[in-house]
């Protein structure tokens, strides 16, 4: 494969420059912090803070989720690499307003180690830190081992819900509890048709045959449950959603998805898959949920959790209860995701 025509400057400065540009995109609402973090400009004193973060290269997440009623800050790593502990500490200090900081990020070995070292450094500075890991990819482990799952696109509805919860949380304990619930109720499944690339090398992140789809692939192209022949949307979507239905069924910690339930449906593109393709998939998903009597309370659709020009898409489902619905109904605003108060849907 020939190298992609990627419009960048120094390949080793891609992450630094994209974060600078992101701060510019916020146009004053966010400030650049330390080596490579950003934080909301005005975080109220006494607010329980929410910090997200992870490797760069998946824009507009994670750092694009810093915003009103969303995350207070983000610690940004290099391309596809966790932020070093020093960056985590700088971001933590920037968002701490005396009530402690909740770390909310995807479950990857590198992120866990670096954020853990960052949390130890923060505790040396007398900042109270808790961590809730996002583990929503049902293809990466069975329900009995769900704490070992990868964190994928479900982070968007999760950060939306936890960001809303953080506005009124009276303690770090309370926010941690809300975050655990949002994570438990959110499950995702993805597919991929072709790889993204690493800007610094131009090399594809994985290999897959032209006529195959990687079912259950992660957002960096980590292998999923297997490869299946290339097919149509209407053949693929039921297979994907089946993994999510079966997961809610099999997991003893949650009730099965059943008639009368209300969900947030997030249809995500990994980069190259177009809005056209997402909408065709959304149409099929809607039919399936309608047949099962499951109500779609709100929809997110678009390329929000990406891996450069990786072709593929994912579904994330968040099952709502009254508490989560209340969080959902709050407005929010960021580069990645903005919504008005309430929800779309009759």
């Amino acid at each position: 494969m020939s190298d992609l025509k990627k419009l960048i400057n120094d390949p080793l400065k891609v992450a630094d420059e994209l974060v600078e540009g992101l701060v510019d995109a916020y146009n004053g609402d966010c400030i650049h912090v330390g080596q490579r973090s950003l934080a909301l400009r005005n975080i109220p004193d006494g607010k329980v803070a929410l910090l997200v973060g992870g490797g760069s290269g998946h824009e507009p997440i994670y750092h694009g989720l810093v915003g009103k009623n969303l995350a207070d800050g983000a610690a940004c790593g290099d391309i596809f690499a966790a932020p070093p502990p020093g960056i985590v500490l700088e971001a933590t200090q920037a968002v701490d307003k005396g009530k402690g900081v909740l770390y909310l990020y995807g479950n990857y070995a590198g992120d866990v180690m670096n954020f853990d070292i960052g949390a130890e450094l923060a505790e040396d500075e007398d900042i109270d830190v808790r961590t809730v890991l996002i583990c929503d990819d049902v293809a990466s482990a069975p329900p009995t081992e769900k704490q070992s799952r990868r964190g994928v696109a479900g982070l968007v509805p999760i950060v939306k819900l936890v960001g809303a919860a953080s506005q009124s949380a009276s303690s770090l304990d309370e926010l941690e509890t809300a975050a655990k619930k949002a994570c438990l109720m959110t499950r995702s499944i993805g597919v991929s048709m072709s790889p993204g690339s690493i800007p610094a090398t131009g090399k594809p992140t994985f290999d897959i045959a032209e006529d195959k789809i990687g079912l259950g692939m992660g957002i960096h192209g980590e292998p999923g449950v297997g490869e299946i022949p290339m097919t149509t949307t209407d053949e693929l979507v039921p297979q994907m959603l089946d993994y999510i239905f079966k997961d809610f069924d099999a997991d003893e910690d949650v009730d099965a998805l059943s008639e009368g339930d209300e969900i947030i449906l997030f249809v995500n593109s990994l980069g190259a898959t177009t809005m056209m393709e997402l909408l065709i998939a959304l149409r099929k998903a809607k039919q399936i949920f309608t047949e099962r009597g499951i109500k779609i309370y709100d929809v997110i659709v678009g390329p929000l959790v990406t891996c450069q020009e990786m072709a593929g898409m994912s579904f994330s489902i968040t099952k709502l209860d009254d508490e989560l619905k209340e969080y959902w109904n709050m407005s929010c605003q960021s580069v990645c995701y903005t919504k008005l108060e309430g929800h779309q849907g009759a």
């Binding site: 290099d78 391309i79 596809f80 690499a81 966790a82 990857y108 590198g110």
Partner: protein, 211 residues
């Protein structure tokens, strides 16, 4: 001339050569990681080694341990990712165990690797056999520990050989950690990229000490 004890200045020169060797090996590391991970190990290590060179070249040392501690801190603060955390931990903890030594001999080699490896296992939760860098480090540490009575040349030669054998042995293992674990049995046949880096580092140290 083969070296029997390294001064802090020689230790610094050796570790600068390690940094150059890793930078040169970037394509090899990238390919090794693409087979099992997301292909970012080579670029991350290159970034770490550039930071290492900047730090070491600007510093004078009286303690050999401090050379390794700076090596680790430069990696940890510049790289991020799993590699930054575990390699940073390896050299920071390993260096701390010999921070009072003004020469690098067989005992310092053994302390460096065994203390560093223990801390890596604590931080990342990997055990021998999990197909990680520990599979190169653990046998290297064992070899270094049983060679403390020998010359530095012999000890380093045995240590590097054990590390290389450990890297080779990782090919037959099934990954249970990190992003490679979802590959299961498909991970067989490829060495772990972290173990490949460890083997290159040990071999470069050996080449410096035996030359």
């Amino acid at each position: 001339m083969a070296k029997e004890q390294l001064t802090p200045a020689e230790t610094k020169t050796m570790m600068l050569k390690v940094a150059d060797a890793i930078i040169e090996a970037e394509p090899i590391l990238t390919d090794a990681d693409r087979a099992l991970g997301d292909g970012d190990h080579g670029v991350g290590m290159e970034r770490g080694m550039n930071a290492v060179k900047e730090k070491l070249e600007a510093s004078e040392y009286e303690s050999v341990g401090k050379v390794f501690m700076d090596f680790g801190m430069a990696m940890m603060s510049s790289m991020g990712g799993a590699s930054g955390a575990v390699f940073g931990t390896l050299f920071r903890a390993g260096g701390r165990s010999i921070k009072d030594s003004s020469t690098f001999g067989p005992q310092e080699l053994a302390n460096l690797i065994t203390s560093g490896t223990e801390s890596v296992m604590d931080r990342g939760g990997a055990k021998p056999g999990d197909k990680t860098m520990v599979d190169a480090l653990d046998p290297a540490g064992t070899a270094a520990n049983s060679a403390t009575g020998q010359s530095l040349v012999d000890a380093m030669t045995a240590t590097a050989a054990a590390g290389v054998a450990g890297r080779d042995a990782s090919e037959a293992m099934i990954a249970t950690m990190g992003r490679a674990k979802t590959l299961g049995e498909k991970s067989i046949g490829h060495p772990d990229a972290g173990a490949v880096s460890v083997a290159i580092m040990l071999n470069t140290m050996k080449d410096f000490i035996t030359s």
